[in-house]
């Protein structure tokens, strides 16, 4: 391949118009086809049409969501790289820089759970190491239908095995995440993977191609027909026929990825790499056009030079293949062989397959002909944008939910409540909630993930409200145990039922909960990566949910000073039923948040530490601001999805979280756990189960308040902490100052293997549960349902 532009080659004659069937097959609309013809000044050929099809999909160009994403705050004193690159990067001080990003693989996982989930992990890891960062942690956020359903069990076990397969082999610990089950995800599970990496190269590697005449290197694995058109596939509803799209699911090779990580980081350190981009969605098409467009240059690429795993492929297949573990580099001219040698040492392909050219086009050569020639900007920047009409008032289902009041609940007493004609004690209700798979232990899941490799996992999964990883540059041999003081905490959160019933407040709650979870381990929340999992934006309700949720995220991220550094949008999460009616998932904007731990000796788990420690509840003290609307109690015990989530009070949220972090930093607070699904009673139970200590709790109730509101009401920025009696006065005087009356003493930690007792002063306990019983319900919930 010569480095001079190949303008002397025969230009293919202007192709005939594409058929409506071909246009539709690429997921393009007739109006979009007209735009393509306008941008090209001619009709596209089949390969070019395919390139537009993937690049103009929602997955690649955010044509529906871009106007909404613009409102996110993206600047902050720690932000080094914001949205637009492969991953965001934040500054943690002392020369430590953290790259992080979240990505979805929902549709592939619905069709082929094992590989769909495995390649979710592979894809997000490439986003991280493409920046020059060594991946140090993985998290995932998963949604499935009900475990009573056999198909859900197959999807769930397949997804977990796929994540385990890839993450374990590649040697990056999977340290945290969330799994929720709801019939809303029965046909369309969600698989979101988040990765964190510590910058290892002196400079952050960007993706804009530069330097006319510089060689373009293809590195990594070979190209095959697997994963054809995955990006378009991801941007359409799932239907009964989607199973036939299984070829659109990629197949991952974690061993190759492990080698690719090492080879890429080594290559970046030579200084010979000008730019790099992972070949993820839309493979060669996306990487060439985005690198060219970002650099304001063009790229000419010869498909005949691409290493392949099968013969007879046509340009369309090369260009749309989503074969995994591949990257595109722009190298400094003359230093190609240096880079190629590194990749060969790791047993990987590396070839010069193209050149950076001045003309801002992507030109694809195949067998001596120009197979495609498109302005890079038309593929990657000047893409369609849809400003959709926003509903002027909430949709019908929300208005109905708003009309729900607590008066609709059955009669109750201090002993319990009548559920479907049967009286149940509050203790029985608590045990039932602990058995709900969404609340119950996820041990069955995380036990399959290697969560300790790399020797930096400070908080094991299940032990704390967020994952905590020690920051230890792996190749720096000058490190000693004394110099390792900083850590990073990470979490993924979203209560989608809140978002469904009130997208704006629910999205705010997701951000607030993520920050609260970080604060509970002692970390200062820093920045966000978001994964917007929604239904079709072409439906007014779907677009309203998306728009309202984006407004909520923007406000919350700005209020909590956690800018968004990137993320992923996954729309069309709908299943077409047999009658062709779309069934959308709950709108699920998953918030991935990272926080800084300045001193690793000052972190907290969620379980009680010592008998006799005092238990405090920080947060909302006004019972009217804590409610059962949208709660787990309402959904599980009363089969009611209604009401409204409680409103987020950002001022209270900030003050409570700061109090928690300061308490941990001073060494006063020995455990911290936020009150989420299931309210105070479930949070107390979890703190008991976690380390096996009981608790004796004295409740206070206002006359108008119901017992179930008191026990299971949600919201209110509440955090449970335990404090040694020796620090009582220092801690309480700090609380008076910091929180005025937004806290109270609840009781004390009880004996090991004891009871959780909750009572009003001088009365019989409302809740009296043996730790062992709670533990059994909670621990075995998922396994019991899988062993059907």
């Amino acid at each position: 391949m010569s480095s001079s532009p190949s303008t002397s080659l025969p230009v293919s004659p202007s192709p005939p118009p594409c058929s409506p069937e071909d246009i539709a097959a690429e997921g393009l609309k007739p109006t979009e086809y007209a735009e393509i013809v306008k941008r090209l000044g001619r009709h596209p050929n089949r390969a070019e049409l395919g390139m537009f099809g993937v690049m103009w999909s929602e997955h690649c160009c955010y044509k529906n969501s871009r106007p909404l994403l613009k409102q996110f705050p993206t600047q902050g004193k720690r932000v080094l790289v914001g949205p637009g690159e492969n991953a965001g990067v934040v500054d943690l001080g002392d020369g430590l820089q953290l790259a992080f990003k979240i990505e979805s693989h929902n549709h592939p996982s619905a069709v082929e759970p094992f590989q769909g989930a495995a390649t979710a992990v592979g894809g997000i890891l490439r986003d991280i190491f493409t920046m020059g960062a060594r991946p140090i942690a993985l998290l995932n956020s998963l949604r499935f239908g009900s475990l009573e359903d056999a198909r859900t069990r197959r999807l769930f076990t397949g997804v977990v095995a796929g994540i385990a397969h890839y993450g374990n082999c590649v040697g990056v610990p999977t340290v945290g995440g969330e799994v929720a089950f709801d019939p809303a995800y029965g046909g369309n599970p969600l698989v979101n993977a988040m990765a964190l990496g510590l910058m290892e190269t002196p400079e952050i590697v960007k993706s804009g191609a530069q330097g006319i005449g510089n060689p373009v290197l293809y590195v990594g694995s070979t190209t095959g027909r697997d994963g054809m058109g995955g990006a378009s596939f991801a941007s359409a509803e799932l239907s009964a026929e989607s199973e036939a799209d299984r070829p659109a699911v990629q197949v991952g090779d974690p061993f190759l990825e492990k080698s690719l990580i090492e080879a890429c980081l080594e290559a970046f350190k030579t200084g010979a790499v000008v730019a790099a981009q992972d070949m993820g969605a839309a493979g060669i098409t996306c990487s060439t056009s985005e690198m060219a467009a970002k650099g304001g240059v063009g790229i000419e690429l010869d498909l005949d030079l691409i290493p392949v795993r099968e013969t007879g492929m046509v340009p369309y297949e090369y260009l749309l293949s989503e074969s995994q573990e591949r990257m595109l580099f722009v190298a400094q001219r003359g230093r190609e062989s240096e880079l190629i040698e590194i990749f060969h040492r790791w047993g990987l392909h590396a070839v010069v397959a193209g050149t950076v050219i001045a003309e801002p086009i992507v030109r694809i050569l195949f067998q001596g002909q120009i197979a495609a020639e498109i302005p890079a900007a038309a593929l990657a920047e000047n893409t369609p944008l849809y400003h959709r009409e926003l509903l002027t008032e909430p949709p019908e289902y929300v208005r109905q939910a708003q009309a729900w009041t607590i008066a609709a609940l059955p009669p109750y007493t201090q002993e319990g409540i009548i559920v479907v004609g049967q009286s149940q004690t509050w203790t029985e209700i608590l045990l039932r909630l602990l058995d709900v798979p969404t609340i119950a232990s996820k041990r069955w899941v995380y036990r399959q993930y290697d969560h300790q490799v790399q020797n930096n996992t400070l908080m094991l999964p299940g032990a704390a409200d967020a994952a905590v990883i020690r920051l230890r540059p792996q190749l720096d041999t000058t490190q000693t145990p004394d110099t390792l003081v900083k850590g990073v905490a990470a979490t993924v959160d979203c209560n989608a039922r809140y978002v469904y019933l009130n997208p704006y407040e629910g999205a705010k709650a997701a951000v607030a909960e993520a920050a609260r979870n970080l604060s509970c381990v002692g970390a200062e929340p820093i920045a966000v990566t978001d994964n917007l999992n929604f239904g079709s934006p072409e439906h007014p309700v779907g677009y309203w949910q998306l728009a309202e949720a984006c407004r909520g995220i923007a406000e919350a991220c700005s209020e909590l000073a956690t800018p968004v550094t990137g993320g992923n949008v996954s729309l069309y999460n709908e299943t077409l039923d047999a009658a062709g009616n779309p069934q959308a998932i709950y709108p699920t904007p998953v918030i991935g948040m990272v926080g800084l731990i300045p001193d690793l000796s000052k972190v907290c788990g969620q379980g009680w530490k010592t008998e006799g420690d005092l238990i405090y509840l920080l947060g909302q003290s006004d019972p009217s601001r804590i409610g059962l609307g949208a709660s787990e109690y309402l959904a599980t015990i009363h089969a009611t999805i209604a009401g409204q989530p409680t409103l987020i009070d950002f001022d209270l949220e900030r003050r409570v979280q700061l109090a928690c972090r300061e308490g941990i930093r001073h060494g006063w607070v020995r455990s911290a756990h936020d009150c989420a699904e299931g309210g105070l009673a479930v949070a107390l139970a979890e703190a008991c189960i976690s380390t096996g200590y009981g608790a004796a709790i004295t409740l206070e109730k206002e006359d108008a308040q119901r017992w179930d509101e008191l026990l299971f009401g949600e919201g209110g920025a509440r955090i449970l902490v335990s404090v040694s009696p020796e620090f009582q006065s220092a801690w309480e005087s700090y609380l008076h100052h910091q929180l005025s009356d937004a806290w109270r003493v609840l009781g004390a930690v009880g004996s090991a293997d004891g009871f959780l007792e909750m009572r009003m002063t001088g009365q019989h306990p409302l809740i009296n549960a043996r730790i062992g019983d709670m533990h059994d319900r909670w621990q075995g919930s998922i396994e019991r349902r899988l062993s059907v």
Partner: protein
Amino acid sequence: MKFGIVVFPGSNCDRDVAWVTGGLLNQPTRLVWHEETDLADIDVVVIPGGFSYGDYLRCGAIARFSPVMQATVAHAAQGKWVLGICNGFQVLTEAGLLPGALVRNRGLNFVCDRVSIKVEQSRLPWTQEYATGEVITLPIAHGEGSYYADPDTLKSLEDRGQILFRYCTRNGDMTDAANPNGSLHHIAGICNPQGNILGMMPHPERASDPQLGATDGMRLFQGLLSAALALSA
């Protein structure tokens, strides 16, 4: 005492071991690329956890043919120390340096957990810092860690005291529930008859750093150092 830690392309615990031997114990430590053949400078060869060459065929089945393994066999034949952890144990059995095989976990799933391990004897450097019969806690992380050998081999391992570690309950009982992968005779780690080669599924290097809260694995490395000191004294 110089540690050489073998690096296959798919090794992923190599740096974890190096952090313990080099970073925490301040011993000279060198990463040894799988194509290397000269181990003359190394006292202890460590084959770390990971997936050697992908392990798509059978764990360690390809690794045994690597240049570095030929050198390791020679190193072991001189009576020098060889430690295989997790994938390293699998490689040692494939290479014939230790008997038996590691097969798919009984529950079929990968298991990452902390488990109780009984130290069966403490006469060798590997275990001399522990008490015989002591129950320690070590992390495990494997999909194919169920130890298998034919009855004669098992009997010979028992008779010669080659079983150094067994899975047990917190109280040291060998119950079925305390066996995380279905290993025969609850075997978690064995040595060769001479005692210079140890293979174990648990990860001592993941329980050696006080900052991470678990330290039961550190005494294994310290036992080696004590032995080296005793030799040089």
